[in-house]
Assembly symmetry: C2
Homo-oligomer: 92 residues x 2
C-alpha cells in the first residue's frame, strides 16, 4: 500500500494517537506519518517512541523533519508555528 497515513497530534491523551498508528500499520500501511504543530510537538515524539519501543519493535523512525507553518489569520496577517513530521516505517 502506498497511501500516506497521516496522524495529526492534538490535545488528546497520547495513547489515542498510539492506537491510531498501530491501527494504520495493522491495516497494512508500510508508512505512517505523525505530524504536530506548536505545543503538541513533544506529544508527537512521545507517540513515535511509544509505538517503536513498547508496541511495535518492527517499526522504526525513518525521517524526522522540522519546519515553520504559516497560518493565514481571518483578521489579516500571518501566524507562524513550528511543526514536526515524523515518518515511521515497518520493517518487512
Amino acid at each position: 500500500m502506498s497511501q500516506e497515513n497521516a496522524i495529526l497530534i492534538g490535545k488528546k491523551p497520547p495513547m489515542n494517537y498510539v492506537l491510531a498508528c498501530l491501527t494504520a500499520f495493522h491495516e497494512g500501511a508500510d508508512e505512517v506519518v505523525i505530524k504536530a504543530r506548536g505545543r503538541p510537538i513533544s506529544t508527537a515524539v512521545d507517540v513515535a517512541e511509544m509505538v517503536r519501543r513498547k508496541f511495535m519493535p518492527s517499526a522504526s523512525i525513518s525521517e524526522v523533519t522540522i519546519g515553520t507553518e504559516e497560518i493565514q489569520l481571518r483578521e489579516g496577517g500571518v501566524k507562524r508555528t513550528s511543526s514536526i513530521t515524523i515518518k515511521m516505517r515497518r520493517k518487512k
Copy 2:
C-alpha cells in the same frame, strides 16, 4: 573549530536559547546542537526555527533525531522521557 556546542533547552523564554545559539555561532562554532527532554521539545523546535529563519539565514538544520532517555530514580526504578537532538550548521 570542531568542539560540540550543546544547548539544553529548559523552561526559560525561547529567546534566551536563541541568543545562546547565536553567540556560539558568532564565537566561531560550525555546529550547534540543541537538545531537549520532555515538554521543552516543542521549544527546541521553536528555537531552531527562529535561529534559521529570523536571525541567521546562513544556518541550516543538518539533522534531527528523536529518542528515549532513561533516568535512574534515587528511590529505584527508571523514568523514561522522550528527547530530541537538533543539529544546526552554518554554511561557509
